[in-house]
Amino acid sequence: MTIRYTKDHEWIRIEGAVAVVGISDYAQSQLGDIVFVDLPEPGKKVDAGDEVAVVESVKAASEVYAPVGGEVVETNPAIVEDPSLVNQSPMEDGWFVKLKISDPDALDSLMDQAAYDAYLQTL
């Protein structure tokens, strides 16, 4: 199961025909207590780097960007109901959207786990 990360701390994981997108543990810890999540409508098409969702902590709003281009096929209603899931389980239950990706090769330009871990060390 391939997982890749962006410099903006999104992760993307291939699961069969779709890619699941969320934010990293580092991202959730930097944001602090998440109190609101704004998710797109399924069917929305995004390019790599486009805003695909918004998370709000007590302090501030932050955008979540699409790691690669594609079409939103599903969103996670659980994090709308309980935004703190993103803090508790950023890599599993706290996922944001599922994308049908247009160009699977685009994942190659993102960081793998080792590269992301090394990147975090530089911050």
Binding site: G32, D33, V35, F36, D38, E56, S57, V58, K59, A61
Partner: protein, 368 residues
Amino acid sequence: MGDTAENLKVTPLNSLHKELGARMVPFAGYEMPVQYPTGILTEHKHTRAAAGLFDVSHMGQVRITGADPAKALEALVPGDLVALDVGKMRYTMFTNDAAGILDDLMVNKRDRDLFVIVNAACKEQDIAHMRNNLKGCEVEYLEDRALLALQGPQAVDVLSRLNSVIPALSFGMGATLALDKFEAFVTRSGYTGEDGFEISVPNSQVEELARWLLAQPEVKPIGLGARDSLRLEAGLCLYGHDIDTTTTPIEAGLAWTISKRRREEGGYPGAEIVKKQLAEGVARKRVGIQPQGRAPAREGTEIFNDKNEKIGVITSGGFGPSVDAPVAMGYVATDYAKVGTPLTLMVRGKALPAKVCTLPFITKRYAK
């Protein structure tokens, strides 16, 4: 107070904040704790349930002495300081000739002086303003003192362990007290909507006092993040956001801070404008705003009426942990300032319904 590598000033508790695992951020030229590891939601709720300790040493503490410092300071602020009893405090603001607000401040009247607390970001300008304009007074910047706030319903029990006279202080009063071995000036006041105290002590003693307070089972350290959400729920203004040089005390809903005598006599910058606004009304007013959904509406969010005309702007907005909903305040055209008036907030291009509501969002629990 020293400097960090990035040229930020630090308070005497800087190393304690770091030891406690705080996330430090630049604020008003200081490196300050925005939150501790438990996070803003927990810190906020803990303060309302028990007691929270805040380092507010970045704020300016100023002592004014002279023949009649209360009368002298009235030349710069609309607050009634002459009528203030010794031992009591008053909230007021420095105004300019257009009745804009230069800063807001707390004035404590003591036996031989006024003890004034001003905002960190404005303190140099405030001190210069007072030195230039207070005739016959000496304005002393108390750089050798730190300031703690202990806030919450259990603050009184905690502080009473250091001096049994503490419960006798009523809200809005101050006294020079020995807190055990600490030489403190204590006021029963704060910025959270809860009962609590602000404690001024020498820099050399503040870390030991802070450690003693944090060792009490009721007390947890609270950062600037929760300080902001607590004061917003309490409907209290934050300078530079809800009030500034473009807002007058009347527009800001602070007419209650101006006594009958001061309304009639004036004698402070912008007094004629304030008098006119009191008599004729204002074009816009600060109001509480309750967004109807779950989405917070932040500072700068534009406010529209049902005809899609812009009628105002949010000046403070976020999530209220105790309200468990988004909360905001801002300025709207006076026609829309009545409680219950429907508003539309434009948040990231989406129209969100909201209503004008009463402030504060929580029930204040000041000790009588």
